[in-house]
């Protein structure tokens, strides 16, 4: 995929070219929205909104990382969605039991390549991570999602969050510390998670 050529064509109004870029980035944008918002349908809406506003504002893209530019649009769409939620709070329609716990997770059915045991484990771990992410303040959550989940560097995150580099470093450290504390509460899941390959600096 010749990304610069597709971007130029899309800037000239070629919708097909833009849709090829959509196919390339839709998973990344959806996952970002999902981790920030914590809800499948809201994440899908925010992703669609992000692509629409990206196409309309494509002439504002002046080069650099296109992925980072798209991440900014999806982050803005997530903020809009959260503002809407604040104005009109809704009650989720997920089935719950008497203890107010979800009866059936839709995430359970998401990936068919895992065995049921793996699915269960992954689902539970994902639940735990999502729970801990949701407990973070929004600005910390955004930074940790962009840096650790999407792999953007500090400069890109700083540009995207419109914050100085030092602020991004500080927010990321605080977010990781809080996540550590939160994840320690899911002790039975962590051993499997901590068997993951350790990354050396």
């Amino acid at each position: 995929m010749d990304e610069p050529a597709l971007i130029r064509a899309a800037q000239n109004g070629d919708l097909e070219a833009f849709n090829r870029l959509v196919l390339a980035y839709q998973d990344a944008l959806y996952n970002t929205a999902l981790r920030i918002l914590g809800d499948d349908s809201q994440a899908a809406d925010a992703t669609q909104e992000a692509f629409i506003s990206a196409f309309r504002g494509l002439n504002g893209f002046r080069g650099g990382s296109f992925k980072a530019w798209l991440m900014r649009t999806v982050t803005n769409a997530c903020y809009d969605e959260l503002r809407r939620q604040k104005r009109r709070p809704t009650i989720p329609l997920e089935p719950v039991n008497e203890d107010d716990e979800e009866l059936e997770s839709r995430r359970w059915l998401a990936d068919s390549s895992m065995t049921p045991a793996e699915k269960f484990e992954a689902d539970e771990l994902e639940h735990a991570i999502q729970h801990c992410l949701a407990s973070l303040p929004l600005e910390f959550r955004t930074v940790v999602v962009l840096a650790d989940l999407q792999g953007l560097d500090y400069a890109e995150v700083a540009s995207l969050a419109r914050a100085p580099l030092g602020t991004i470093k500080s927010r990321l450290a605080r977010a990781r510390l809080r996540l550590r504390e939160c994840l320690q509460g899911f002790g039975e899941l962590l051993p499997a998670a901590f068997r993951l390959e350790r990354e050396s600096p």
């Binding site: 109004g13 919708l15 097909e16 833009f18 849709n19 959509v22 196919l23 839709q26 998973d27 990344a28 944008l29 959806y30 996952n31 999902l34 499948d40 899908a44 992703t47 669609q48 692509f51 629409i52 196409f55 309309r56 995430r107 998401a110 990936d111 992954a122 771990l125 994902e126 991570i129 940790v144 840096a147 650790d148 989940l149 792999g151 560097d153 500090y154 470093k169 500080s170 990321l172 450290a173 605080r174 990781r176 510390l177 996540l179 550590r180 994840l183 998670a193 901590f194 993951l196 390959e197 350790r198 990354e199 600096p201």
Partner: protein, 325 residues
Amino acid sequence: MTQAPSFRDAEQLSAYLDNQLSPVDRQRLEARLKDDTELRSLLTDLSQVRAILRNLPARKAPRNFRLTPEMAGIRPPLPRIFPVFRLASALAAVLLFFAFAANLTLPALSAFRAAMPAPAMQVAGPADRSAAPLAPSSSNAGVEAAPTASEAYPVPPAAPMAGHGIGGGPTGSDTALPQATAPAALLAPQALDTTPTPELRMLLPEATQTPEIPAAAETLTEPGPMAKSAPSDLNQPPPEAPQPEPIRAPVPAWLLFGLLGLAVVSGSTAYFLRARAEQVWFKTYALSPARPTAWQVGLFILVFLLVAALVVAIALLSSAGSYAP
């Protein structure tokens, strides 16, 4: 030396994990890590958190987020000549509206104005009375009798005559005064035979015995033939008011038909140009063309009926040729 790490240490460790420390800070931190077990433990924890997040399996997008032309706000490219037809259709429709409205309203308005003087003559009675004192002093008795007589004998012939010939203005009342008052005074005894009031008995002989009234009126106002013949017509039924001239519509029918044709033809051409452009557009993006909605069908029928009604209305009005009041 083991000391509980500060937030500043955690920040340095976090940046160290991401290779965001300067070489000097990096060397200093690595030197501390060799001796500080607490710091190493914190580094391990932060590294594990980072690894968990980075290894979290990415979810597949639940659906395709490709944009449709509608989402992107893109409309099919229309031919360059499309706006010309659209503008022509709109202009013709507007002109047709005003021309048709002018044809309907102006003749009716003119007819209404033409009909106005007849009722105005009823107002001319009091005008006569007010004009009476202005008559010469030699005919005082006759003039004083005139209002009473004209009230007792309404003079129908004066209305159409004044209505068409003069128009009921101040000069009209001057000329009408001798017609209305003098004959009425002459006829008054016949009508007053049954109820002669003392005042009338005093006035009427004077009126009948003053032959200079018509003469004085003639010398004062030089009455035309109508005034001269008026006394002889009094015993005859009032002549019928002449039918006013038919008022023609200001815009000819051929122009209305031309405007209607232009509006319909250019509008249809613009519609078909757009439809053809949309077909090409839908093929390009492999979209299924939108089916016409109920209100679109209703609008089409309404426009068709409106055009048909206009054709009938113009034809009827043009066959009539004019508008009678």
